[in-house]
């Protein structure tokens, strides 16, 4: 079997493409969690983003409206979560789970009219450069703008948290909301903003699935990616760069196991399908076992409600 070097490039590019929604949703959730809020509704927000993006694209015909509309939909549904957990001080876990169930249900309802409608082609950038460099050409060029954004996002997130004042405030709120509040930081406002940002990124991740990755609407099409995104955040110990690594491993194994199934490797399909989930988590656990670093990067107040009383 002769393997074309550009074919390898294409496989790597497809692995990267499958990692995009995970990176987007994880980096969004990472900011939310760094402020001390545990939002288990990522799956729900993603699928809302997916149906909103697809529906807006079909109805308005505008890709820009569709992408931003999907993000807005993510923001709106996360506002429900923010209102419940930050204003009405409900339990983060229960509210997040409810959000996911709600998202899956309502997306199926809206999506009924969009099943079977073909999607639109999403413009890609630097298409002409694809052939210029062997191997790297297909990896670097000919992708959508969302793709490039997703691969820049972990670095932007890392810079934001480490180097900017607002990033510092987010980490401070996640470390100790009481201290932050006594320092004059509006904890509720910061947490609202972080939740809404997480919603926007999950919405974008969903839109990427239904508009770019597989341009069509299928019920429940996120297929558990929201949960993987959540796991990536935790097992990467809230480190955006490790999220990138985890998402690539997960994407890689997903793609490779498809190919293995296609070739007809004699391993039970169920095992192959389960492989990415197990391996990703094992790898992330192994690369993040420094307990000192875990302590330093874990938001101490994660999942705990903060109520300021006068």
């Amino acid at each position: 079997m002769i393997i074309d070097i550009n074919f390898i490039g294409l496989i790597i590019a497809s692995i990267m493409a499958s990692a995009v929604p995970l990176i987007l949703a994880s980096c969004g959730e990472l900011i939310t969690e760094r402020s001390g809020v545990l939002n288990l509704g990522v799956e729900g927000m993603m699928i809302i983003g997916a149906i909103s993006g697809f529906a807006l694209m079909t109805v308005t015909g505008s890709l820009i409206i569709a992408i931003f509309g999907a993000m807005l939909a993510g923001v709106l549904i996360s506002t429900i979560f923010a209102f419940l957990t930050q204003t009405l001080i409900t339990n983060h876990v229960a509210t997040g789970l409810a959000l996911t169930i709600f998202g899956i249900g309502i997306s199926a309802m809206i999506g009924k009219n969009f099943v079977g409608i073909p999607g639109k082609e999403f413009p890609v950038l630097f298409e002409s450069l694809k052939e210029t460099i062997p191997l790297l050409g297909p990896i670097l060029f000919g992708h959508s703008i969302v793709f490039y954004f997703a691969f820049a996002l972990p670095f932007i997130t890392s810079y934001f948290l480490k180097k900017t004042k607002i990033g510092l405030i987010v980490r401070a709120v996640g470390d100790s909301p009481e201290s932050a509040s006594n320092q004059g930081i509006n904890v509720r406002l910061v947490r609202y903003a972080c939740i809404l940002y997480g919603g926007a990124m999950s919405g974008l991740a969903g839109a990427y699935l239904s508009m770019i990755y597989t341009p069509q609407w299928i019920e429940n099409m996120t297929g558990g990616r929201g949960w993987i995104a959540l796991a990536l955040v935790v097992f990467s110990t809230w480190n955006p760069i490790k999220i990138l690594i985890g998402a690539m491993i997960f994407g890689g194994l997903t793609i490779i196991q498809f190919h293995m199934q296609a070739i007809g490797v004699r391993i039970p399909v169920q095992f192959l399908t389960a492989l990415p989930y197990i391996v990703t988590i094992i790898v992330l656990v192994v690369i993040s076992r420094d307990s000192r670093k875990i302590r330093l990067s874990t938001p101490s107040s994660l999942g705990k409600s903060f109520h300021k009383d006068n």
Binding site: K165, L168, I169, R171, A172, D175, S176, E178, S179, A180, S181, N182, Q183, G184, I185, S291, R292, R295, L296, S297, T298, S300, N310
Partner: protein, 496 residues
């Protein structure tokens, strides 16, 4: 420039309690003011009002004749009022530098220069780039103080600043505070420690149950007069009669080691000591030097080698707390609401948790409620717990009452050895007195105590022998008559 701070008719009412009842006070820069009172007297509420954390129901605050509206901590900062809280307001996982710059607007590097200047001026030395969780309590407090100083405050409020400091660190703090005062910063010092007031302050205001009781010059007061004002009655001073030294050994610890997997715990190395019947062994030290690990090893929360602990001629190092209780050991952990009692459970349910074999609290797996309640009532009356409702959830008991309940629960089985860890931490003078009396009484009944405490005065008052724990190692065991608090302070700091 002179600073004048005036509090006028401030009232703050919480459901069921008047925290501040029409309090008026006036402060002038150049002097150090003490605000003295027991826990719950309302002094913390008052300073939280001054720092904008709590908004008063009534009353005005004037700084240099300007009426201040302090609706948030930010307002206080803008008006040059700085506050160092009793429980540090630091972000443990952020670096020292990040903690310092979080509320300032300047450029990072400019701030670094400013911080360096402040540290040089007051002789502070702290690495700015390590996370706060690696600092000692004294260093953390300095970080808080620097954070205030960056803003050039006119007023600096210190809320019970010495509760976590060693003798040496306290002396340093007092020197710094005097320096700040000379430079024109108005200092308000909140405490319930009378000795400190006498050492440091120029003027003292005493609060009791939300009301201002007196304002006076320090030179007209002494420790007894202040104590009586603070408690509102004449306190009898208790003194321990020196016990006849018995040679009957009760517990012996031999070569006990504990290595923790958690990097934030302290390892214990080569712990050796013994306690005779009727004796109280005090273990001093700055918190975080292995006290909590030592307590857990002694109580059986952490299992050690069987032979390392010999109690009443039995080797019990590998037994659980429950099994150790059967051998007549009793335990009073440091954290009353987290470790000693379950806050959401009722008083009698908490009593039942100490389910010793002869108690008959449970029959065939069923709860014998009458038996437990009867037992609880006995504890409440024997140990002076100020409630008659054993159905009350224990979180609603005051710290003092809860501690009496816990000590009572432990002692009612008449154990041979009581191990307690900071038994009077955060309690008011009345409750402290009661606990101290109780502990002395136990010794008089020829029963033993291991008292792990960070309060040096308490240790000197109650112990027959004292040892100091530093970085997980015990100093040699000394007779308490030979020890002074200065000597303990030096040992606590790690010197030999």
């Amino acid at each position: 420039m002179k600073t004048n701070l005036k509090i006028s008719n401030v009232t703050k009412i919480y459901p069921g309690c008047v925290a501040n009842d029409n309090v008026s006070l006036e402060f002038n820069s150049g002097r150090i003011y003490a605000l003295l009172g027991e826990n719950g007297a309302g002094k913390s509420t008052l300073v939280k009002i001054l720092s904008g954390v709590i908004i008063p129901d009534q009353g005005e605050i004037y700084l240099n004749k300007n009426n201040l509206k302090l609706n948030s901590p930010l307002d206080a900062k803008k008006n040059d009022i700085g506050m160092v809280f009793q429980h540090f307001n630091l972000f443990e996982t952020l670096s020292v530098f990040e903690n310092l710059i979080i509320d300032s607007d300047g450029q990072r590097e400019g701030l670094r220069g400013k911080i360096d200047t402040i540290m040089k001026k007051y002789n502070f030395s702290i690495d700015l780039d390590i996370p706060v969780l690696n600092l000692s309590a004294g260093q953390k407090q300095k970080v808080e103080i620097i954070r205030c100083l960056i803003r050039n405050p006119k007023v600096l409020i210190m809320d019970e600043p010495t509760s976590v400091l060693t003798e040496q660190e306290t002396i340093e703090l007092f020197q710094s505070l005097k320096k700040f005062s000379e430079e024109g910063i108005l200092i308000i010092y909140i405490t319930h420690k009378l000795k400190e007031v006498m050492q440091l302050c120029d003027e003292v205001a005493v609060m009791r149950r939300g009301k201002l009781v007196s304002v006076s010059e320090i030179k007209n007061e002494n420790i007894e007069s202040l104590a009586n004002k603070m408690v509102g009655q004449n306190l009898k001073t208790i003194k321990k009669k020196k016990a006849k030294t018995s040679s009957d050994q009760l517990i012996k610890i031999t070569n006990l080691n504990f290595t923790s997997e958690d990097p934030f715990e302290t390892n214990l190395t080569d712990i050796n000591f013994s306690v005779n019947r009727g004796e109280c062994l005090g273990i001093a030290g700055i918190s975080g030097n292995g006290q909590s690990e030592l307590f857990q090893v002694l109580s059986g929360e952490i299992i050690s080698e069987k032979n390392s602990i010999e109690f009443n001629n039995n080797y019990i190092g590998d037994l659980s707390p429950q099994e150790r209780r059967e051998y007549l050991m009793a335990f009073s952990p440091e954290d009353r609401l987290e470790q000693a009692a379950i806050p959401q459970m009722k008083i009698f349910e908490n009593v039942a948790l100490n389910n010793f074999k002869s108690s008959n609290f449970f029959n065939n797996g069923l709860i014998n409620e009458n038996k437990i309640k009867e037992h609880s009532k006995k504890i409440i009356s024997d140990f002076n717990v100020n409630t008659d409702n054993i159905e009350l959830k224990s979180q609603f008991l005051s710290g003092g009452n809860l501690q009496k309940l816990i000590i009572g629960r432990e002692l009612i089985t008449s154990p041979d050895l009581l191990i307690c860890f900071n038994p009077t931490w955060g309690l008011d003078v009345g409750a402290i007195n009661y606990i101290h009396e109780t502990l002395i009484k136990i010794n008089e009944q020829n029963k033993s105590i291991i008292l792990i405490s960070t309060d040096t005065d308490e240790l000197l008052k109650l112990s027959d022998k004292i040892s100091v724990i530093h970085k997980g190692k015990l100093s040699k065991i000394m007779n308490s008559e030979e020890v002074t608090s200065e000597k303990l302070g030096i040992l606590m700091g790690g010197a030999d």
